[in-house]
Symmetry: C2
Subunit: 425 residues, 2 copies
Amino acid sequence: MSLTTDTPVTRRSLSPLRINRDRLLHRLDQLAQVGAIEGGGVCRLALTDADKAGRDLVVSWMEALGLTITIDQLGNVVGTRPGLEAGPPVMTGSHIDTVATGGRYDGNLGVLAGLEVIETLNEQNIQTRYPLAVAFFTNEEGARFHPDMMGSWVFSGGLSVEAALAEVGTDGTTVAENLDRIGYAGPVPCGSQPVKAFVELHVEQGPVLEREGIQIGAVTGVQGMSWQEFTVKGVSNHAGTTPMALRHDAGYGASAIAVAARQLAQKMGGNQVATVGSIQLKPGLVNVIAKEAKLTVDLRNTDSDLLKQAEAELQTQIEAIATAEGLEVTAQSLARFEPVSFDAAMIDAVERTAQALGCSVKRMPSGAGHDAGMIAAIAPTAMIFVPSVNGLSHNVNEYTAPEDLENGSNVLLQVLLQLAEASDR
Amino acid sequence: MSLTTDTPVTRRSLSPLRINRDRLLHRLDQLAQVGAIEGGGVCRLALTDADKAGRDLVVSWMEALGLTITIDQLGNVVGTRPGLEAGPPVMTGSHIDTVATGGRYDGNLGVLAGLEVIETLNEQNIQTRYPLAVAFFTNEEGARFHPDMMGSWVFSGGLSVEAALAEVGTDGTTVAENLDRIGYAGPVPCGSQPVKAFVELHVEQGPVLEREGIQIGAVTGVQGMSWQEFTVKGVSNHAGTTPMALRHDAGYGASAIAVAARQLAQKMGGNQVATVGSIQLKPGLVNVIAKEAKLTVDLRNTDSDLLKQAEAELQTQIEAIATAEGLEVTAQSLARFEPVSFDAAMIDAVERTAQALGCSVKRMPSGAGHDAGMIAAIAPTAMIFVPSVNGLSHNVNEYTAPEDLENGSNVLLQVLLQLAEASDR
């Protein structure tokens, strides 16, 4: 299915419907109180008790809105509103899990804006030709279980449910154990739910829209991403008596790799980014040369070839560092996604709808991975971005202004109405 | 007190006494079984239950040898053998605490060789003019509580007992609490025990003696040491959406500081060493730019001015890194010791005694801090080094050959006999 240009979006062609900003903000507040942490942030790591509490709250809202709820084997939850015709739903949604020091909008906005769209349609008794669905996917963040976008990846058939269920988390427990524990191991087979089209509203999580003073981002695709963990093995020794020339210092090796990753991204330029978010040294004592170090490297680029080039150049530099210091370095891929391009007509629809609503809009790639990037494999997909103040995300200070939340939600409402062919149009 | 050259040390002037190698090895084995870890190493972090068990074993040996035992307020233990005259004892000793991944010789050798000397004298009913004492000092390693050499520093009046007792360890508990818990908070006031002379036998913990094929090191002094912890504050943010130019990455800052410390030591050359043994990132997640990092830097040099220069140059580079990345870096000194020079006549005595025993000997500085470096402030002091295989120390593979242990212990025996003026000479 693809929108055709013989249905131009103009202000006159728009539905007069608008979402209720206060109702949306109220749900965002309530969900943010589940797993709230100091500074106004949220910690609801995937499949923890806090995540269960957040899921239960959202499911209770879905039930109150009369949605038919299905839960699949990986805990992906879909609430569906029937259309005049049966068949695959036009779907929106996102995730409600967070990183350990997360904000209240990342993911949550896409799910709760979807519920707000449903409530707006219910209020006005608007029927749609095709069913509408709101989904939240399991473990989008990947902070407790690798890989991120796990739920939507399995939902779209890219990752086997068995592999995902067997994944061991940072605390040594598996996805399967935790799904059973919190009661979200559902009966619906993963990959059995076709989707007519998918639109995800999300905060940008970057500084671009705010810096350029633009209200809506029409997302053209998702950056490719490579997550690797490197284990550096050296020789533990005395920090005072071992001449510099005789050292095999795993801590130095890890630091040199982190600096090399930074310099690589700066040298490549463009939208290439490189991040070392975790470094661990053993034994980790002030007067002992480290015998082992583990570090993670997160590389991203919108261009598939440039991403491969970044991986290759980093590997070359790591080998040089290992040789010079007499270290052994092994690499493990934690997650890898190729860049994704969204559906051209869907991107047009988001852009034209935003313009018709009087919003400034910009086409842009997503620097972060999103569930939409996974669903794009099985359905025409697009995303709507709204500005993040100071570009902050994965941070308790993550913030998006109420009017931006409202604009994005109204663009979502209008695009969903077009895709589902609301009967009042 | 200082040895005078009118008592030349010659083979004829040596006592015929020799220590019992098997007895020494047996005690080393037994003590190594307390807190034994995989690979033949030992973990007896200061004032833990394992340290208590090690202390109890050594004290039981002291009692069996008829020594008079005193325990001071900081848990320093001294076992004294009376002389024909009363007065300050000629003392030997070291420490029995270890790092988390320590070996069986570091410290332990100096204490158990002292006991072996006492047992050798007891066997032959040798009396000395001055009392002889064997001591082990609390928390020499500094792996659980800063600073290292804590016990001998307080014993010699350089650090107040109150400050040491209040020190909070890596597990959040204080020195005082743990001394009470393991029953080694003694009644003897710290700093109340004068010492006539001090000699410490220790493994080199470095590669020099082995590489040059020399049996005994006559230690001329101890390297100055500077331990600092740096706290790097940045901004936590999303690893995918934050352009490189807009980052304030505390993890990158810590890594750049570690690399700068390495390059500084290499540039200065000589015996300057620099080690970053601990790096910790917050939140420490693969896809989150770190908002905070803590790292330790251990700088050592035998030259006081060069050590100051290293600290100053590192600080300059840290400021440049902080400015370039937009980070806030604060420094805390964890420990600092000026270089120490030992007593010239005592160094001569060690050198000449080793030669008279037919051992090859080399004058050398110590790259590691030692209790002798603290006691040197209150008594004429020297040290005896024996080779460490592959220079390994603070490592389960730390090893010194039995014949080297025996040679070092016989040098210790003979030097102590000279200092205490054995009545058979």
